[in-house]
Symmetry: C2
Subunit: 240 residues, 2 copies
DNA sequence: GCAGGCAGTCAACAGTTGTTGGCCTACGGG
DNA sequence: CCCGTAGGCCAACAACTGTTGACTGCCTGC
């Protein structure tokens, strides 16, 4: 509502909609956007693309280290070695820039192709590797904790990328959302303590050690039978 | 360093140090500060104390719902129905206000007094109850995700309150920090997905159901034998 | 060779923020 | 009775924010 019309105007002149370019100097986290309409001239387009990528890269770093509010357009522009107004011209709004910066594909593996008892470890291992090579994820988590827009974007990723994978290994379709949420809670919680809050013990754990600890947990959340009372009030003790 | 001297000056005039009053209209999360030096006159002091509490209450709500940056002094003052300058006079700095607002005692139970196989569930149950009655915790988590000061305060709580409790049930003292960090990762991750990010499946789960799911996880993190390879490179498969 | 568009810069605007100092008012002690 | 003190409000400041518009060169297509 702020500047949507002028934004659209500027964007239409610039060549593409609101997405980003396909990676060149990028950390490779911009998958879901297809190639935008190619501009007429090659040289100019290439320059523009590299600037776009530089902005995106700087934005990811800043959002990851400072969060949404403290990551100022000016700082991002300074990092990208361009004028702040260029950021606005390319991405219209700070929010637009953020949306473009945190568009990411988790590239979750096909769990149905794995031996049933290894999905937990595989999931943990993939998640850790993904997180450590993409600062985008830290940026997203940081922002999601404070802004509603960020939280919604995280929900989108959960719904579009985590849920389907959980569906591959969950026995009861009705329990898929809850189980997937439990898995996410453990994975995001680890990312939080390790990469955002930087609890020393969590940050110092070796990657494979984390995999060994979290693997069985995720495995249980995904495939173990429902442990508790369904929704009974009071406090019935489990039999056994 | 901002306004520490004038802050101290103002505070000393006002009657107490930097803490808060003992709860009157408060949500009851201000334990670690002993009763401040009582001012001379009763009526004035009581008025002052209620204002202090109102500020603290409003601050907690705002920090919890908006995070640090978006929770403005002006908004907090408006909620507390006083002038913004009063907030500064009472707490010196926004950071000081935040520090006072998120001072909390987790009141973790004495795990050594429980049957060994129930500590996981007890921990999960206590944590959920605590979180749902103290908006302070959501505020702290939100802020911790973006500001370094907030993250450090969370680390303090982990070190001073979670670690000792973990020590009560952990067999090997050397593994206590790592195990406590794993426990924290799961608990904070749940709080994150349920209360901050508001993943629908996580938010809709019944409390006892979460206890049933998380209990065994925490139990394992605390008491189960070390599952993985200590710190070997490569990827040695576990026997069995 | 020339016009047109495009990447990029500069300076400025309006709004908001934390923070400060001065002033007013109620009230309790002498 | 008056006076000091402390609680509270108002207005303002300086810094910083996202955002915008006008201006400048460079390159390309005709």
């Amino acid at each position: 509502m702020h500047a949507s019309d002028s934004d659209t105007d500027r964007e239409s002149r610039s060549g593409s909609g609101d997405g980003n370019s396909n990676g060149n100097g990028d950390s490779g986290a911009s998958a879901p956007v297809p190639a935008p309409a190619p501009p007429r001239t090659r040289a100019a387009a290439r320059r523009s693309d590299s600037t776009r990528a530089a902005i995106l890269h700087a934005a990811r770093e800043r959002f990851a280290s400072d969060g949404y509010e403290r990551a100022t357009i000016r700082a991002i522009a300074r990092d990208a070695k361009i004028d702040p107004s260029m950021v606005m011209r390319y991405y219209g709004t700070k929010e637009g820039l953020f949306a473009a910066a945190v568009a990411i594909d988790l590239e979750l593996p096909d769990l149905s192709a794995l031996p049933r008892h290894e999905v937990g470890q595989a999931l943990a291992r993939h998640f850790l590797a993904m997180w450590e090579e993409n600062e985008v994820l830290t940026a997203l988590l940081r922002v999601a904790a404070t802004s509603r827009a960020g939280a919604e974007r995280t929900q989108d990723i959960f719904r579009d990328q985590v849920l389907p994978v959980a569906r591959q290994v969950c026995p009861d379709p009705e329990q898929v959302p809850a189980r997937a949420a439990l898995v996410s809670s453990q994975l995001l919680g680890l990312a939080l303590t390790r990469y955002v809050l930087c609890f020393p013990p969590a940050a110092e754990l070796a990657r494979e050690e984390i995999v060994a600890w979290l693997g069985p947990t995720l495995q249980r959340y995904l495939t173990a039978p429902h442990p508790g009372p369904p929704d009974r009030p009071g406090r019935p003790g489990r039999p056994g």
